[in-house]
């Protein structure tokens, strides 16, 4: 048998294949489904519960609250189950050493990187948006005094998608850079939740300022309208942090030894 130079099918079909393999890879492990279940419980449970509280408070003050609060509050916590899903899709291969084999069947690392960023992040975003809308609907069914307008919903869904896309990109990038589930999980939690919530609590000016530079602050603003910042600032933070994380993680996958 003589070696034949195999003519490749071209980059676009390769990307489609790699993406389809990533999708199958995600579907065929239980951890993905556990994460989705946890996200569903968090978004629906916390989201609907909080929206009902808001409805009561609004009623007491003679105003109304919007049902989209359900999805937004729910996602505030539920996003972490989705970020774990994204992160595991990347770091699990470093834990088991299977990144080596993966690069044997997808040795063009740019192709792998594109598929590995796109598929898990899109899965998490779509799942998050669907869960948030479901929470809104459940909330308005349980408490019809909640207002539920198309405009609110569009705004809300846009914000949630932006938060999940940015958070997912941050998780993928961190995972590729640190190559460790524990390390990347800690980093993402600190940046996305712990530090943005903790730093302002010290009452020290520079700490609060620092906290407002973290991606989590922009995510919280997008979902809940706090802390005080402009849409431009929030966008800059979300885009800047995801781009930086993807650049660092991409460098790690493209340039370093497989690991």
């Amino acid at each position: 048998m003589t070696a034949v130079a195999v003519q490749g099918p071209g980059t676009v079909p390769l990307l489609t294949r790699a993406a389809s393999a990533e999708w199958l890879r995600l579907r065929s492990v239980r951890s993905t489904w556990w994460c989705l279940l946890a996200a569903a419980a968090a978004v629906l449970g916390i989201g609907v519960g909080t929206a009902l509280d808001e409805a009561d408070m609004a009623e007491a003050s003679g105003s109304t609250a919007s049902a989209v609060l359900a999805g937004e509050y729910g996602l505030m916590i539920g996003q972490f189950a989705l970020l774990v899903l994204v992160l595991l899709a990347v770091t699990q291969e470093y834990a088991s050493g299977s990144i080596g084999p993966t690069l044997q069947w997808t040795p063009r690392r740019g192709v792998l990187l594109t598929a590995r960023v796109t598929v898990p992040v899109l899965v998490a975003t779509v799942a998050g948006v669907l869960l948030a809308v479901a929470a809104d609907v459940v909330a308005v069914v349980v408490e019809p005094s909640l207002t539920f307008s198309g405009g609110d919903l569009a705004d809300s869904v846009g914000g949630i998608a932006a938060v999940l896309l940015a958070g997912g990109a941050l998780a993928v990038g961190t995972g590729l850079l640190l190559r460790s589930t524990a390390g990347a999980l800690a980093a993402v939690f600190l940046l996305q939740l712990v530090l943005p919530a903790l730093l302002p609590a010290f009452g020290v000016r520079w700490m609060a300022d620092l906290g407002e530079l973290l991606p989590g602050s922009a995510a919280i603003w997008t979902l809940l309208g706090e802390p005080e910042m402009s849409a431009g600032q929030a966008t800059t933070l979300l885009v800047g942090w995801s781009a930086a994380a993807l650049a660092a993680g991409g460098w790690s996958l493209l340039r370093r030894d497989a690991g």
Partner: protein, 318 residues
């Protein structure tokens, strides 16, 4: 065909100079692995076998030199599994996925039909276990899954890193048979091992490395012959002096051994037996000894073993 040219991998910073902390895991390796043969890639632990294979597969970046698979750098191949299949580490599989799902993921990346997945599952004898999660697999089953993955694209080049590790006798015999079959079909097969005895029964050609450097690149026969090891006959007799004298008169080279036997070089058992009869020496034991490849290997790599046992000589004798 695998072509390795001046391949070098250095860990640690700086140029390799005095006082530098840099380590050369692979040092200027050049060799070819040809089709139709099983090429044994041999060396002590830490000699650089796995690092070399990882560089051939584009997983690790060489400090210098290059490796070509079917004429191209592996990392530029669009459908690499149709060109080369490899098993480096059977444990490197997600434990939560079933063997069949694992193969389906792999097949998808190279546009290989699912039908082929079931074919290789049958070929390696994974059978119904393929639908169970890899978590519950024995090492032998993981090796079979890894080999199935390597065969998936029906490639002309195959690389196996220590595929017999942890296999029971049946498994070892199966791998040996499979590897022979693959080479007989005209494929290029590179098989690494630190076990010489295994290679003696499986490989046609040997590439031996030690401390990252090439020690030998030759057929098994050449490696044995190159060591100048002809036949030897070991003979035990109570009349050592008489027999030794008679053998020496026939211009044969005779060495006494530690346990009082005589080792006769370049003679057959018949010759030594006849000579003993002529001088009336009783023979208590008479045996032809072949220098094993293992011994040659130990001699060849003796200086290059990284973690040396205190006395290699003792190992050779035992």
């Amino acid at each position: 065909m695998i072509e390795v040219r001046g391949l070098t991998k250095q860990y640690g910073a700086g140029r390799l100079a005095h006082g530098s902390s840099a380590v050369r895991a692979v040092d200027d390796l050049t060799f070819d692995v040809r089709p139709g043969k099983v090429t044994g890639f041999l060396g002590p632990n830490g000699a650089g076998k796995s690092t070399t294979m990882r560089m051939v597969l584009g997983l690790d970046r060489p400090t210098a030199g290059r490796a070509l698979v079917a004429g191209r750098p592996f990392a530029t191949l669009d459908e690499p599994l149709r060109v080369a299949g490899a098993l480096l580490d059977a444990q490197a599989v997600h434990p939560g996925r079933s063997g069949r799902d694992h193969l389906r993921v792999v097949a998808r990346t190279n546009g290989i039909p699912v039908r082929r997945v079931d074919e290789v599952i049958d070929q390696v004898g994974l059978g119904p276990a393929a639908r169970r999660r890899v978590k519950g697999y024995s090492l032998g089953m993981r090796q079979r899954l890894g080999i199935a993955t390597a065969l998936l694209g029906d490639p002309a080049v195959l690389l196996f890193d220590e595929p017999m590790n942890g296999l029971d006798l049946d498994g070892v015999r199966w791998v040996r048979g499979l590897v022979r079959e693959l080479a007989d079909e005209g494929r290029t097969v590179l098989l690494s091992s630190h076990l010489m005895s295994e290679m003696e029964q499986t490989a046609d050609h040997l590439v031996i490395i030690g401390r990252g450097r090439l020690i030998a690149d030759a057929s098994i026969e050449e490696v044995l012959r190159g060591q100048g090891t002809g036949r030897k006959v070991r003979v035990r007799t109570p009349s050592v002096d008489d027999l030794a004298g008679a053998l020496l008169r026939r211009k044969l080279r005779v060495h006494p051994t530690d346990d009082g036997d005589l080792l006769v070089e370049g003679a057959s058992a018949e010759t030594v037996g006849d000579i003993a009869l002529e001088v009336g020496a009783a023979v208590h034991r008479l045996a032809e000894e072949h220098t094993s490849l293992e011994q040659v290997y130990l001699d060849l790599t003796g200086d290059s073993v990284q973690y040396k046992v205190s006395s290699t000589k003792e190992l050779v004798r035992s």
